[in-house]
Symmetry: C2
Subunit: 418 residues, 2 copies
């Protein structure tokens, strides 16, 4: 599929993350305004709340866009999602008769602040990156062998929804309990092994019923869209706490997402199959769809005062072993009800080369192999006032489906107890 041209000139560049092919959904405001729904097109935002108020778009009897989240739209079912995308395309396509009517509803992105694009109902984090799982095994257990269940279960755990924040939100270095292997007692203080995890987040749009499982194909149809996701991780806190019930405070101090929900529809041309299974999956995980996406991903690190960030990882979302649809099917397989706004992290995405490792744990091999930034500074884990940046885009023929950036700056830990 080629670039689809819009009368919004900035949307027709090969470099814009937001051509007419994309049309991602966010929540924005200008100074003094209430946050509301908008759609990115080139370097502009289409003010959906204002369009709705003017009677130029109506999805439902009630207002669904004059809200600081897209959850109401998600709940209107996939047919309505398709109808909305059709309306937006017709309004914004080059040669549209609506241009004069619609143009006044465009707001420059440069003037807008972006907010959380949806209310996170619950947050689940998976572990679907095979290279990452093997690297973690090699680092932590001395063997790249996968856990016994890894090739059978799309392993996941429940994360903390209240910790999910939009790109740009600063994160406090967490305090927590840690214990050195040779120490008698644990101690409490700022994490010394603060890390990122490069992930894609899938957003559930259509709910499922409590007690009722869904197939992989049904699960795929339930997904509304995707964001970049940085699952900030305190490795030293996690190491001491995680047996026997899994990660808790090591993952609860912040999870950053990119501000634009890239719809599943926009990513359709970039679907790729999951890799051949080393062991056949159980039949309940069978599906007919290509569940992964070819999305180029990059991680950059920028110390305080550096003129520009250093690229430290380049990989691709197609490196995953399990798809979001398989994860969602497994999630509901015992009867767990899923809701609009549920966020599913893919798990850390790493490729086979070191340049493709999606966490500092892997890039510095647990601190044993420090790396050098363009500024000459040395890093193993994150230092105070470092900024971490995730970027992602599906690369089409003369256009891209971009996610925008997912950034976060680490502030020094707060003093606790006082």
């Amino acid at each position: 599929m080629p670039l689809m041209k819009s009368w919004v000139a900035s949307a027709n560049s090969a470099e814009t993350p937001f051509p007419l092919n994309n049309l991602p959904y966010g929540v924005f405001s200008r100074a003094g305004e209430d946050p509301r729904c908008g759609v990115a097109i080139g370097d502009m935002i289409l003010d959906m709340a204002a369009l709705e108020a003017a009677g130029l778009i109506a999805l439902d009897a009630e207002a669904v866009f004059d809200l600081p989240f897209w959850n109401q739209v998600m709940e209107l079912a996939p047919e309505v999602w398709a109808k909305l995308r059709g309306h937006l395309h017709a309004m914004l396509v080059d040669g549209s008769g609506d241009q004069a009517t619609i143009a006044p509803y465009l707001v420059p992105q440069a003037d807008a602040q972006l907010h959380m694009p949806f209310m996170v109902s619950e947050y689940t984090d998976f572990y679907a990156g095979r290279q990452h799982a093997q690297n973690m095994g090699a680092i932590l257990r001395g063997s790249p062998d996968l856990p016994a269940n890894w090739l059978h279960i799309p392993i996941g755990y429940n994360g903390r929804a209240s910790s999910v924040v939009v790109s740009g939100t600063q994160i406090n270095r967490p305090n927590g309990q840690t214990k050195a292997p040779d120490a008698d007692m644990p101690s409490f203080g700022p994490s010394k092994r603060l890390d990122i995890e490069l992930e894609i987040g899938a957003i559930v749009g259509t709910p499922s019923e409590f007690g009722a499982p869904v197939t992989v194909d049904q699960a795929d149809a339930m997904i509304f869209g995707f964001v970049l996701l940085n699952d900030w991780s305190a490795r030293d806190i996690q190491a001491w706490e995680y047996q026997p019930l899994g990660p808790f405070q090591g993952k609860a101090f912040g999870t950053s997402i990119s501000p634009w929900i890239v719809t599943k529809a926009a990513l359709e041309p970039f679907r790729v199959p999951t890799p051949a299974c080393e062991k056949a999956l159980l039949p309940y995980l069978d599906g007919t769809i290509d569940g992964l996406y070819d999305i180029a991903l990059e991680v950059l690190m920028q110390p305080e005062g550096a003129a520009k960030p250093t690229s430290i990882c380049k990989t691709n979302a197609k490196r995953l072993y399990y798809s979001a649809a398989e994860q969602l099917c497994h999630h509901a397989s015992g009867g767990c009800g899923m809701n609009a706004g549920d966020l599913l992290g893919s798990g850390t995405i790493s490729g086979p080369e070191k340049s493709e490792f999606g966490s500092l744990m892997e890039l510095s091999w647990a601190g044993r192999a420090p790396f050098t930034l363009d500024t000459g500074e040395i890093r193993t884990f994150i230092e105070d006032n470092d900024t971490l940046i995730l970027r992602g885009a599906a690369l089409g023929d003369g256009y891209q489906i971009g996610f925008g950036t997912c950034t976060g700056k680490i502030r020094p830990a707060v003093k606790f107890p006082a």
Copy 2:
């Protein structure tokens, strides 16, 4: 403190769970009505929405009781909680001048259906029962030794809020992946080791800020009230899935809570200290409050067709090692923001004697020691159409602060895949 007498005659019995000393909060409806907030008194419910509509009680400029949850009240701060309790006491106390005015707003409990009393924002399950942790070690690892971190961390994991249901909701036996130790491959089907966990749930009322920890004393002040909680568990699913990221589908098919929120204020006379620490807790977990409560607990099991249930466990909430306030302090210690409606499960409560074990895993010692019900039926784990019942009450001088019951019947698994 003795029984406080009410003009509602049924509230003055030593047997009622709901004397004037209690005043728990629930959500109810009669046939054809919308669910709304009510307060239990004896065998009646005070219709708070109707009282508010009549101008007889006002906590806020907006209606807070004509809603199917108590979250709005929780968010009004502890001073308002105290004011509400004072108003209710004054209205319902024996000799109150309000009797004639208030009496028309009482609804018989026998006519009402009870609903979820609050919206669960997020659900966290802890592991604070020492005897339970030792029993599980003995059963699963052949040693009652606690995990290395157990005496230092109030261990918890994030559960699934969408799986929390009110007492009386039937639960489907979950399908899931399991693998016998000697099997080559896992299989998918109905759990064969379906269990309960006897717990107390603490409900957060006052939020904490993202990035900001709270002390144990602050955490105690944030707690709004308590419910009985049955953390249904599929032991075979859990055993295969839980390494390395903790329980997931083994715990996601249902968590039942009792329908009345017993306020922290009602339980004040029953506070008891946590037991002496075997190892000193780190200073961030220091507090000045007595964080546990003396609450008698019982579990009963009733097979389909049995005239009455068999009591299978009697224990007490004071058997816990960590308090809800300590758990909440730990939960927020890395900066995790807490919200009104967050539900914290205590962890399974077991005492030292077999008659005090709060799960079937312990009562049947992983199925090796079947037990006999009053009907003569034998059990290890739960069979289809069995009903499990939790009961709890703090026993005062001639009165009790009861929770009502927390019941659930297990239905056969759904067929999946079709």
